[in-house]
């Protein structure tokens, strides 16, 4: 289990214990005993110790929420952690698919180019054609190496802003953590409609409830957008690579054919 998932679990456990009337310090201690990660258990122990000494953890992070937030606040914080993890997962999926969609055609083209070169080398009676094919071997190989590198780059560094599902999950996370004082409740990149929704609902139900409603909507939307992004971006990327190679192949096709015809005495 990832650290974020463990933190969300602890937050939910403490929230459930607080709802049952268990004291905060005792709830944190009980949750600490269920944690497998030693570092996290140490952090929980420090929070418990701080609380016992009447001190509050600094900042607006996990420890601070544990020390001050009520049950609802803890659950909101856990939902924010879930949304952040979902954003990371959506981004990782799209990165993997897009990187593979660019790299795999490049590898296939590389194999085809090398194979065709080997076949041309084995074919007797095409001395000029062999020369022509040799001269055409280098650009496709270099051309295939470039998308291969691009694929690896996309796999590792595809920007978060290119993945709609990750952006939506991030906005949901920021909404949830923002209302607890961990930043601006209105996330950057929020659409005018989202801002209008929050502004219209906050006076009626309160900022926390309005943010929770909006984050649920954004997460549902992210779920729908995730499918499309995980399929659409790789398709576009692979399409561009194949289109580029198709264009190069078409450009080379007629000169190579002419070289072969000349080699065979059809000048």
């Amino acid at each position: 289990m990832r650290l974020g998932e463990q933190e969300a679990l602890v937050l939910r456990q403490v929230a459930a214990l607080l709802r049952r009337g268990v004291a905060r310090g005792q709830a944190i201690d009980l949750a600490r005993r269920c944690v497998g990660d030693v570092a996290l258990a140490d952090r929980l122990a420090r929070v418990g110790q701080d609380l016992a000494e009447g001190q509050l953890p600094q900042g607006a992070g996990f420890e601070r929420s544990l020390a001050v937030a009520d049950a609802e606040g803890l659950e909101r914080r856990a939902a924010a952690v879930d949304a952040t993890l979902a954003a990371d997962s959506a981004l990782a999926t799209v990165r993997l698919h897009t990187g593979a969609a660019v790299a795999i055609p490049a590898v296939l083209i590389l194999v085809l180019v090398v194979l065709s070169h080997l076949v041309a080398g084995l074919t007797p009676g095409l001395p000029h054609a062999q020369g022509g094919l040799l001269s055409t071997l280098l650009p496709p190989v270099l051309g295939a190496a470039m998308p291969l590198g691009l694929g690896l780059l996309l796999l590792l560094r595809l920007p978060r802003r290119w993945v709609p599902a990750a952006r939506l999950h991030d906005r949901a996370a920021q909404l949830l953590s923002g209302v607890d004082g961990a930043g601006d409740p209105m996330p950057p990149g929020a659409t005018a409609a989202e801002q209008a929704y929050l502004s219209a609902r906050a006076p009626a139900v309160g900022l926390e409830a309005a943010a929770a409603e909006l984050s649920v909507e954004l997460s549902a939307e992210a779920g729908r957008a995730g499918d499309v992004a995980a399929v659409g971006l790789p398709m576009v990327a692979a399409g561009l690579v194949l289109l580029a190679f198709g264009g190069v192949a078409l450009l080379l096709y007629f000169p190579v054919l002419r070289v072969i015809r000349m080699g065979l005495g059809f000048g």
């Binding site: 659409t191 005018a192 409609a193 989202e194 209008a196 929704y197 502004s199 219209a200 609902r201 009626a204 409603e213 909006l214 649920v216 909507e217 954004l218 549902a220 939307e221 729908r224 499918d227 499309v228 995980a230 399929v231 659409g232 398709m235 399409g239 194949l242 198709g246 096709y253 054919l257 072969i260 015809r261 065979l264 059809f266």
Partner: protein
């Protein structure tokens, strides 16, 4: 979230909480038709809500039982979107189309090669069978490509007409609406009125738990149907490509043997 969705949600809240609908509509900074506001003030909720971008079924539900709109929206938000299915089917069709286009290109290139060989050969007529096979292969690949493009158009434009998946999703949506009415305490007469429009949910269960189960089961059926559709499209598409390649190779082999005999 876009403006239409935000406005629909705010309308749902306003109807559920009995607050001003007009305030909900103008809260979203996006254009709307004054006609819809006039219809709203005249008490004609259904056409007004449709004009404001709500789905027809939701607008009808809201006109019969306004408090049911928000629970219906909440329940429908958990249903899978057609976009997921469209994306996966479209991916399969694009891959199939790509392979078929590659086959067309390869057959065209082979045709050029055969024409070159015919020029070299002492009797060019000997290559006729090869050229005929290549023509037939390009026709088959071209027809396959056309079928793929037509299928992609259908998937993009009419996802709800897809067999099994469309039926299951319709049942899930109807169960969501029926559940929303029960959840919001609609009287039996309103529930019966709404149920009259149902096409897939012939017998509406009477408890919320049963309706939730029906909805979940329909969603599960839709997911199974989605997998079957995607796998089926993959099998048919790739099967077609393999068949064309296999038949072309076998026919070419035979035609080349005839060429060898003729020469």
């Amino acid at each position: 979230m876009n403006a239409v969705r935000a406005r629909a949600l705010l309308i749902g809240h306003a109807l559920a909480e009995d607050t001003s609908l007009q305030a909900a509509i103008v809260a979203v900074p996006a254009p709307y038709r004054m006609d819809d506001l006039v219809l709203l003030q005249a008490g004609r909720l259904e056409p007004a809500l449709q004009g404001l971008g709500l789905p027809a079924a939701d607008a009808r539900l809201a006109s019969l039982w306004p408090a049911g709109l928000r629970p219906a929206q909440r329940r429908q938000a958990t249903l899978p979107s057609p976009r997921g299915l469209q994306a996966r089917l479209f991916q399969t069709l694009v891959a199939t189309g790509g392979v078929l286009a590659g086959q067309l290109f390869a057959v065209a290139a082979a045709g050029r090669g055969a024409a070159l060989m015919a020029d070299l050969a002492p009797s060019p007529q000997a290559f006729e069978p090869v050229l005929r096979v290549l023509e037939a292969a390009s026709l088959a690949a071209g027809l396959g490509l056309l079928a793929t493009v037509v299928s992609a158009g259908l998937v993009l434009l009419l996802p709800r007409r897809l067999p099994a998946w469309g039926r299951a999703m319709l049942r899930a949506e109807e169960a969501a609406r029926a559940g929303a009415l029960l959840e919001s305490g609609a009287p039996p007469s309103v529930r019966a009125e709404v149920a009259r429009d149902f096409r897939r949910l012939e017998q509406v269960p009477l408890t919320l738990d049963e309706l939730t189960l029906v909805q979940e089961r329909a969603v599960a059926e839709a997911e199974v149907a989605q997998e079957r559709l995607v796998e089926g499209a993959r099998a048919v598409g790739m099967g077609l490509c393999v068949l064309i390649a296999f038949v072309t190779t076998a026919a070419l082999y035979q035609a080349l043997a005839l060429v060898q005999v003729a020469l």
